[in-house]
Amino acid sequence: MVDVVFLLLLYFMLVANVQDLRAIPLNAPAATGGASAEDALVIRLLADDVLELNGAPVGLDELALRLGDALSHDPDLTVWVRPASAVPLQQLVRVMDRVRAAGVHHLNLVSE
């Protein structure tokens, strides 16, 4: 009896997938429709960890501030993230995480 319970326990421990997965939703270009290009923000993510917001280089913390500022004017702001193609996904996700945390709901990815 106890043996069986131990075996069950072992089975569930091995089979269970306890990774805490989280999703970052992405908006399809069509779904964000209506937002014209000029009231969208473009964040470029270059290799060697350089960030550009609408062409001007910014740091990660300053980016969050600027986004919060922009959001207070337009809560429906669309943010485009354009990573250079060699940037590893981890780095891209770190930036996207900050953008989401700043309160941006319409986040989109575009290629270079």
Binding site: L9, F12, A23, P83, P88, L89, R94, D97, L109, V110
Partner: protein
């Protein structure tokens, strides 16, 4: 003076509390664990601190560090994936099936975007990128 030391009595270890604990552990793992088919290759999703959405949607696509793709436990190439996804989306008509991409943290962004665009071309409307909550 002789001190009579009582001979050590062999006390039987009580087994009932042990069984209780094991049962509790069993229930914990049954509730917490998600029984999913094993991935055909290891994928380490990127970590994120504040990603909001709850992961673990219906359709998950895997993208390995070396660019291999897998869907529903099978490795496949991009055109096959698009065809398979098209079928799944047609089955889930009306329920607005979302698709999640579980990509390895070391994959190039360009490759991720290429896959995302291919998924959109296959008719996926709700896309999300899966991350793992980074341990504090």
């Amino acid at each position: 003076m002789r001190c009579s030391v009582p001979p050590p009595r062999r006390v039987r270890e009580p087994i009932a509390p042990l069984i209780d604990v094991v049962f509790l552990l069993l229930i914990f793992f049954m509730l917490v664990g998600v029984i999913a088919p094993l991935d055909p290759f290891p994928v380490e999703p990127p970590t994120a601190e504040r990603a909001a959405g709850e992961g673990g949607g219906q359709l998950t696509i895997l993208l390995a560090a070396d660019g291999r793709l897998a869907f529903e436990g099978m490795e496949l190439d991009l055109p096959t994936l698009q065809a398979r996804l098209g079928e799944r989306l047609a089955e889930a008509e009306g329920r607005k099936a979302g698709v999640e991409l579980k990509a390895d943290a070391t994959v190039d962004s360009g490759q991720v975007i290429a896959v995302l665009n291919a998924l959109r071309a296959a008719g996926v409307e709700r896309l999300a990128l899966l991350t793992v909550r980074s341990s504090p």
